[in-house]
Amino acid sequence: MSVFIGKDTTLVVQGITGRDGSFHARQMMEYGTRVVAGVTPGKGGQQFDGVVPIFNTVRQAVEQTGANTSVIYVPPAFAADAIMEAAAAGVKVVVCITEGVPVLDMMRVYPFVKEHGARLIGPNCPGLISPGEAKVGIIPGRICARGPVGVVSRSGTLTYEVVYQLTRAGIGQTTCVGIGGDPINGTNFIDCLEAFERDPDTHAVALMGEIGGTDEQEAAEYVRTRMKKPVVGFIAGQTAPPGRRMGHAGAIISGSAGTAAEKIEAFEKCGIGIARRPIDFVALIRERLK
């Protein structure tokens, strides 16, 4: 089993003829993901690599191929529209890889996606992979292996690092989800923890947070009150200079400065194992899988 994506995933790639879209479409197909459609307005009727039909709109793609998942590789100026198009067309999981989406755009996108009953992952995220079943996004397939650990992270390459260490140590994953590091994203830690708690094949969760905001603290509280499965966490940015982006006003609103120390404290209080270094995940997770 797996969460969000798996064997039943049928994928439409928005921006399939672009530089990033075409490269990663091929990577996903190579990995075994069922890429059933591509979208590039104006190229409707053509075929991508001779096998994947291209449509002018996501609606057409969904109507004609039944795609249930979408992945977005379009420039930031068009990303919000692409997400809403996918949700409106009835796609259930929308994964937006695009980096640099204005946060004011996301404030409109978020309620729109909710109203349409879709799940958005990202933007500014590496996507997700259910090893051996499907890969949607850009996480390198070869660093993953099938196994009992759910992985969720706000960052990209840091996720690869941890997953790579786990895999090297013989610890595989059910699904690895990169939820993205933007202020407003579609899926948060709690959404993923909930899914992992429900997934019978996941036996432990590795969670990688960052400084800023209070998502990690809320996730910790969720783990304490609602989860039975063990969780190991890491916070990046202990040495980062504070307040370079949002300043203090953000801290007032959230009632927290979002420091690493605060988040680690919350983890400790809620029974989450603390990985001081990425490599520490290996031992801590192994212990909890016993």
């Binding site: 100026a77 690092e161 203090h248 006003a249 609103i253 959230s254």
Partner: protein
Amino acid sequence: MNLHEYQAKDIFRSHGISTPAGEVVTTPSAAESAAARAGGPVMVKAQVHAGGRGKAGGVKYCKSPAEAREKASAILGMKIKGLTVEKVLVTPAAEIASEAYVGIIVDRARKKPVFMVSAAGGMDIEEVAAKTPEKIRYHAVDVRYGLLPFEALELGFFLYSDAKLARAAARVMQQLYAAFMGSGCSLAEINPLVVTSAGEILALDGKMVIDDNELDRRPEVEALRDVSSENPAEVDARNHSLSFIMLEGNVGCVVNGAGLAMATMDLVKYYGGEPANFLDIGGSSNPEKVVNALRIITADANVKVILFNIFGGITRTDDVANGIVAAIKASPLKVPLVIRLTGTNEEIALKILAENGLNASADMDEAVEQAVKLAKGGKAA
């Protein structure tokens, strides 16, 4: 991107918010003539991207043009939180009856712009929040509807019981919201919003932070960027699509991805070292980026060792290897180099490095530990 007070006030004014007239000058004599034109007591205010200007002595009340010259002379060239003051704003001093705070920021948790208003303005809003939280009212705006008239009026009545002032404040809320949305802000703040002794509502100070992701589609806002008031190395980095923040340590870091970059800095610290910087070369690397990254880092005299930590995903590690080689060929390094590199095209990358007498580790901890040792004057393992 931060705007200066005078720039924020220009935007406020274009949305109909009343602010005192003002002139931005760069010399004491220009400050004197601006004060003379203002024709009364003025404030001379440092225009610099740093909080706490007042406490640092960057804001002064001046009774006469001569005093304005004198105070401007003291402020110009002053350093506030490491930034040199290059400009001052000369603006008429207002007769203040009351001071309030009005701000809007992007709130991650609510996923909405949130108003913060308080009748206890003029002082640090952080302090108000800490000591008298009941004096702050929050209001999250649903951007699908915008700020509704009744919402603006509720906020107005929270600040003033007088209906005329409440309505005038409600207008300011609408105008500030329009400015916030219209300029792509992550923060817009009026502190203080004052009622003058004549009963007029004025924005006496203003602050705006723009979401960097908005700048591509708002060239008119991007044009307000004042590179003279930023760290030159950081400006240089940004111009080459690198995300760079200078720190105090001596281990120079070049990493792909912000999370991994922070984790690398943390690991430097874990092994007893101090990172010299945060540097993220981003997702889609090319050799040119690596060359620029090395140039910027080696310009920092504190740096005793350079540590690469690259996990290739979209980033092709051979691009990185080529960049390192090209940079070294152009100008040999004066400090040792430790490379950790794995992922996409790793074999090609290792071959390129080997051909140029360089080697790399596949293990992050090993590389970081070695870099820290070298920074402390030890030898490579």
